[in-house]
Amino acid sequence: MSLSDSLPQIAELIALMRENDVSRIDYEDEQVNVSVRFGGEVVMTQAVAPAGAAPTAVADTGGAPATEGAGNIVKSPMVGTFYRSPDPSAPPFASPGDRIEKGQVLCIIEAMKLMNEIESEVSGVIAEVLVDNGQAVQFGQPMFRIEAG
């Protein structure tokens, strides 16, 4: 069960809560953790990574900018500095509108003086680049949105 699977039921619960003046519901299972207070205000919605998930598939970071639209979010597998191109004079690995294939390099993250090439896990079209060149990234921070196509 994931958060999105539960959402219809949570919505139903919220409706019921309103009728009953319920002040708060805490819902938790192994993968999601949701708190709701009176008025339907969602105080915290947090997805915890499933145990044993691949290191490149990580959850949203709290501090990361919200991502709009659908598609695959490519998240940083490590803490470091994000570079869009192999060197300042070279063109970016991937820009919005570019078609990319699974396994293609999307960016470089520098950590501990090492340049780590980050490959795409999916094929598709770059919809958004969510980090500026040279910016620091945290573990799990969204970097690209890739749409099918």
Binding site: Q46, G62, M112, F139
Partner: protein, 448 residues
């Protein structure tokens, strides 16, 4: 002083370091795993960096992630807390090579005190007494008897390749020694494929007493009194106090002097602890803990010295701000570690805290990083909170501790508190009639 300190830890010690930094006017960076996204150290630091998934090996123990977090945030120093990377020589060296200060000892001192043999050599060089024993394996019963006569009875016969209490036998006189030697050696041969046996002085009822020391980078070291941490379950401390009660004053002074001598002799700087086993009027070197310890608050309470702030100042190259004569001990302080464990089986009990109320008031200090609805993560150690009480003397501190424990409410998970309440109420506690092995046998006779 540093501009920005990254705290390479979580839980109450991360919060403790953040508070000390705020008082020193130093900015702070918290690091956190995905399991700690809503943790208090993340909330109260100036900045926070997610460094990896929940397992410690992929986050708090993952050196490249921690150092990268320091680099992207521009931290000029790292405080390791205790546990995790606090005694990791590779981490200290890597930080040094990146030009970031490790708030702790030099890597060479970590190496010196991280290895039992070199630690003992340093202690011996500083004239600190070691538990007497054979230099190496003894070859036969006659040699064993000769060594034992020097060491003094009772002695412990230990299979050289044994471990976990296996292959050990106590001899209280020569005839028992001669009987036991062959058995121990044969058993060792059968069990470990090697019959070599060591001989060591056996302590029936040792107390664990440790001296808090602090050194600067210019050769000055002082002590801040000692703590008694004898109440342990399987070497896990449950309750600590300062000063050590009912300690012979000559032993106490000798312990303190030995600890300072060892620190000065080895050129050790930063705060740390020199641990001893004490029995009657003898004491023996155990080990040096080159870091801030879980139980440091009891020393802070009786000395009035902020040990974490002192540690940071010493790491920043300040001279020792206190002379030995400035250190005076007032009152008595006791710490109880509240762990998320079954109180009798000690099986970990992680989970969501559904109700939480910590005591307050006169003489009560709580160092914790939990709150109602917080989750005690299964990935990390099980300590929930430290309750520290201080009174004008030990009896006053114990009375205070009793109501403070009664007022401490943690619901939703099991904790060690019910066991500790009984331990403190047991007459042997007030009478200081205990040693390091007391709790292990006491626990088996209690329970609800």
């Amino acid at each position: 002083m540093f501009n920005k300190v990254l705290i390479a830890n979580r839980g109450e010690i991360a919060l403790r370091v953040i508070r000390a930094c705020r008082e020193l006017g130093v900015r702070t960076v918290a690091i956190y795993s995905e399991a700690d996204r809503t943790a208090l150290h993340v909330r109260f630091a100036d900045e926070a960096v997610c460094i990896g998934p929940p397992p410690a090996k992929d986050s708090y123990l993952h050196i490249p992630a921690v150092i990268s977090a320091a680099e992207i945030t521009g931290a000029d120093a790292v405080h390791p807390g205790y546990g995790f990377l606090a005694e990791n020589i590779g981490f200290a060296r890597a930080l040094k090579s990146h030009g970031i200060t490790f708030i702790g000892p030099d890597p060479e001192h970590l190496a010196m005190f991280g290895d039992k043999l070199s630690a003992k050599a340093a202690a011996r060089a500083a004239g600190v007494p070691l538990l007497p024993g054979s230099a190496g394996a003894v070859s036969d019963a006659d040699e064993a008897a000769t060594v034992a006569a020097e060491v003094g009875y009772p002695v412990l016969l230990k299979a050289a390749f044994g471990g976990g209490g296996k292959g050990m036998r106590v001899a209280r006189d020569e005839s028992e020694l001669r009987r036991s030697f062959g058995i121990t050696s044969n058993e060792a041969e059968a069990a470990f494929g090697n019959g070599a046996v060591f001989i060591e002085r056996f302590l029936e009822r040792p107390r664990h007493v440790e001296v808090q020391v602090a050194g600067d980078q210019y050769g000055t070291a002082i002590h801040l009194g000692e703590r008694d941490c004898s109440l342990q379950r399987r070497h896990q401390k449950l309750l600590e106090e300062a000063p050590a009660p009912n300690l012979d004053v000559r032993v106490r002074d000798a312990l303190r002097e030995a600890a300072v001598r060892l620190a000065e002799n080895s050129g050790y700087y930063t705060v740390g602890t020199c641990e001893f086993l004490v029995q009657d009027e003898e004491f023996f070197f155990l080990e040096v803990n080159p870091r801030i310890q879980v139980e440091h608050p009891v020393t802070e309470q009786v000395t009035g010295v902020d040990l974490v702030a002192l540690q940071i100042r010493l790491a920043a190259g300040e001279k020792m701000p206190l002379a030995q004569s400035d250190v005076t001990l007032t009152g008595h302080s006791i710490e109880v570690r509240i762990n998320a464990e079954d109180p009798w089986t000690f099986i970990p009990s992680p989970g969501r805290i559904t109700g939480y109320h910590a005591p307050g008031g006169l003489g009560v200090r709580v160092d914790a990083a939990v709150h109602e609805h917080a989750t005690v993560q299964p990935f990390y150690d099980s300590m929930v909170a430290k309750l520290i009480v201080t009174g004008k003397d030990r009896a006053a501190a114990i009375r205070r501790l009793q109501w403070a424990m009664d007022e401490f409410v943690v619901e939703g998970i099991r904790t060690t508190l019910p066991m500790q309440r009984q331990l403190v109420a047991d007459p042997m506690f007030a009478a200081v009639d205990y040693h390091t092995k007391t709790v292990d046998s006491w626990v088996t006779t209690r329970g609800d």
